[in-house]
Amino acid sequence: MKRVLVALSMGASVLLAACGGSSVSTNPSTGAPVTSAPVPPPAALQGTGATFPAPFYDAARFAYNQKYSQVTVNYNPLGSGAGISALTKKVVDFGASDVPMNATELTAAGGADAIVQIASTLGTVSLAYNLSGVSNGQLKLTPKTIAGIFLGTIKNWNDPALAADNSGVSLPNQAITAVHRSDGSGTTYIFTDYMSTVSADWKSKIGKGKSVSWTPGQPGAKGNEAVATTVKQTPGAIGYVEVAYVLQTNMTQASLQNHDGKFVIPSPEGATAAASQYLAINPSQFSIVDAPGPTSAPISGYSWLMLYKDQSDKTKGTALVDYLDWLVTDGQQYAVNVHYAKLPANIVKDDIISLKTVTSGGSTLLNVPAPS
C-alpha cells in the first residue's frame, strides 16, 4: 500500500514538474513578460541551523505551506554549528548559519564546488539600555565609547567620554553593567566583527567570533531574550541585542554613530541601507559592518543558507530550490513582518544565480529566467 502511494506521488510530481514548471507568461495588459515562481513538486524539506533568523524562517515556511500545501518545510534552530555539521553529514536538506562555511568546513563537506551558499536575510544589532530619564535614541554612542564600555575602561555613566557625546542629556552617577550573550551566536559575531573593525584595541584584546573571551565581571545571558530581560531588570545596564527583539519589546536603544559620523537608531531599513553599500558580497567576503552612507546602521550582517549543489533526489531538490527562490524574492515580505531587513536587489540576483547552479543528474533544477 505504502509503495503504491509513493509510486503515485512520484507520478504526480513528474506530472507537476512537466506542466507546472513553466515560469514565463505574458502580461495581458502590457504584453511584457511576467515571471512567476514555479510550482514546486510535493516534498518534505528538512533544515537546521542558526537561531538568529529563526523567527523569519518560521514565518516564511508557514506562509509557503499555505501557498503550496504539497511542500512542508521543517526548520530546527539548533545553532549555526549544528546547521553546518548536519548538512555535511547530509541529514538535512539545507543548513543555516550566521557565518558562511569557511574553507575547512567546505573541505569537510566535499569542497567549495560542492556547496551553494546564499544570503537569506539581514539583521542589525542594537544597544539597548536601562537608564531612568534617558528616552529611546537619546543616548548617543560612538565606536570609541562602545569599546570603552565593553572593554571595561568606561565604568560609570557619568564618564567624561560619554558626557562629551551627550550634551543636554543628564547621565546619572551609576555603575555600568555591560551585558553580553553567553551562548555562541551570530549576533555576537556581528557585534565583535564591528568592534574589531572600528577599534584596534578591541581587535588585539578580544577579537571577533561567535563566542569570545569577555572582560571579567561582565554578566552574560543565554539568548537575545535573556540579554533583553537582564537589561530591562538591571538599572544601569546596557547590552547588545538583535534589533527585532528591541522593537518587539519596546526597549530603549542608543543612537549609534556610523561610518559617515551620523547618529542613527538601528532599524531594519538601516540594515538594508548598509547592505546596499556593498554590491559584491560572497561567502568569503561577507562583512557589511561599519558601512558608509548617511542612514546605514553600523552593526549589520547577513544570515546564510547552504545546500549541496548536486541533489541526489530530483523531486526534493526541485522543491528545495523552488522554495529558496521564493524565500529570497516574495518570501522577503515575511522578514519585514518580524523586524528583519529585506535583502537588497543585487543580493537577490546573486542568490538566484547561485540557486540556478544546483543540479540533479546534470540538469538544472531551478526553472526561472536568469536575472538581468
Partner: protein, 327 residues
C-alpha cells in the same frame, strides 16, 4: 468449588515433570534477562565514556593536565582552560549543600519523628514531592525574574552589611552570581535531601529509640546520640545524591550565575559552571579543538563526580568501619 481444583489434586508424573521443566527454563530465562540488564548498564556506561573521551581527544592531547589549571577560555584564539568553571561548579554546589543540609535534615526529622503534628505530615510530604517534580527550567525562570532582583536589592546588601568583614560578602551585587546560583541549587536539591533522609531515619529500629527513652534520655538526646549516628550512612548517601544533582544542574544555573569566566572570592561576583559552559557554547562551537574542549569539560565533570563519590565512600567506611559502608 470448581472442577479445576479437583482435577489438579492428582497430577500425573508426566505433567509434574513437564511443569518442573518449565520452571527450570523459566529460571534460565530470568537469569539471562537479569544478566543482560546488568551487562547493558555496563555497556551503556562504556559507550558513554567512549563517546565523551573520543571527541575530547584533540583538546586532551593539546592541553593535557594544564587544562585543569588554566583560567583562559578564549574561543577566538583557541586557548582553553577549565579552572574558572571548575571553581564555579564546586563553589555553587558547596553553597547548595550548606543551605540544603540543615534545612533538609531538620525537615526530615520532623517528618519522621515528631508524632504530634500527624495532620501536617501528609500535605508536607506531598508538597516536597511536588517541589521535586518542578522542571528545572521553571525554577530557573522563577529565579531569573524574582530571585535575582530580590538578591540584588535586599539579600546581598543585608549580607554585606552584617558579614562584610569577610571577603566572601564584599563587592557590588548585581543579583547574578555564585550566591544566587547556590541558593537556587539548594532549593532544587532539598526534596532529594528531605525524602531520602526521612526514609533513612524512619528505618532506625524502634527498639533503639525506646531503649534510649527508657534510659531517661530526652527526645533531643535520643535524636542526637542514637538516631542520627545510626542513620549517618544513609544521610551521607542523601548528601551524595544531592551533590550529584547540584554538580550537573544546567539550565537553572545558567540563568542566574552570570556566565562569566572568572574566579572571585566574593560570592556576589558572577561566575560559570561546567554544565553552563557546555550548554552555552555547544551549539555554535566550530573546530575540533573548541568542540573537544567542551567535551573535555564533560570529562572533568565526570571526574569530579567520581572523586566526590570515592571520597564519600572512604568517609563512610572510616566512620562505620563495617561492611555496611557500601551505600
Amino acid at each position: 468449588m470448581s472442577r479445576g481444583t479437583a482435577e489438579r489434586v492428582v497430577p500425573t508424573p508426566l505433567v509434574a515433570a513437564s511443569r518442573q521443566r518449565r520452571f527450570v527454563s523459566g529460571d534460565r530465562v530470568f537469569r539471562v534477562i537479569a544478566y543482560g540488564a546488568a551487562g547493558l548498564i555496563m555497556l551503556i556506561a562504556a559507550i558513554f565514556i567512549i563517546a565523551l573521551v573520543v571527541p575530547a581527544l584533540p583538546a586532551i592531547t593539546k592541553f593535557g593536565l594544564g587544562f585543569f589549571t588554566s583560567r583562559t577560555w578564549d574561543p577566538v584564539r583557541n586557548q582553553f582552560g577549565a579552572l574558572a568553571p571548575i571553581y564555579g561548579t564546586v563553589v555553587t554546589s558547596a553553597i547548595a549543600l550548606v543551605i540544603a543540609f540543615p534545612i533538609g535534615l531538620g525537615a526530615a526529622l520532623f517528618l519522621a519523628e515528631d508524632a504530634r503534628l500527624q495532620l501536617l505530615r501528609g500535605p508536607l510530604s506531598f508538597l516536597i514531592e511536588l517541589l521535586a517534580g518542578i522542571p528545572s527550567v521553571v525554577i530557573g525562570l522563577w529565579a531569573f525574574f524574582t530571585l535575582v532582583p530580590l538578591m540584588r536589592d535586599k539579600v546581598d546588601p543585608f549580607l554585606s552589611h552584617i558579614l562584610g568583614f569577610l571577603p566572601l560578602f564584599r563587592g557590588t551585587a548585581s543579583g547574578y552570581g555564585f550566591l544566587t546560583a547556590g541558593l537556587v541549587l539548594g532549593i532544587m536539591v532539598l526534596p532529594i535531601m528531605i525524602a531520602l533522609s526521612r526514609d533513612v531515619i524512619r528505618a532506625v529500629p524502634r527498639e533503639l529509640r525506646e531503649a534510649s527513652l527508657a534510659l531517661g534520655a530526652t527526645n533531643a538526646e535520643t535524636t542526637w546520640s542514637v538516631i542520627l549516628p545510626y542513620a549517618r550512612v544513609g544521610i551521607t548517601g542523601a548528601i551524595l545524591l544531592s551533590l550529584g544533582r547540584a554538580l550537573g544542574e544546567t539550565i537553572a544555573v545558567t540563568m542566574v550565575i552570570g556566565n562569566t569566566m572568572q574566579i572571585s572570592t566574593s560570592l556576589f561576583a558572577t561566575g560559570y559552571t561546567l554544565p553552563s559552559v557546555i550548554a552555552n557554547e555547544f551549539t555554535e562551537a566550530n573546530g575540533n579543538l573548541y568542540l573537544g574542549s567542551l567535551f573535555y569539560l564533560g570529562v572533568v565533570l565526570v571526574l569530579i563526580t567520581i572523586v566526590v563519590n570515592v571520597l564519600a565512600r572512604l568517609l563512610i567506611w572510616r566512620f562505620s568501619g563495617s561492611a555496611r559502608a557500601a551505600v
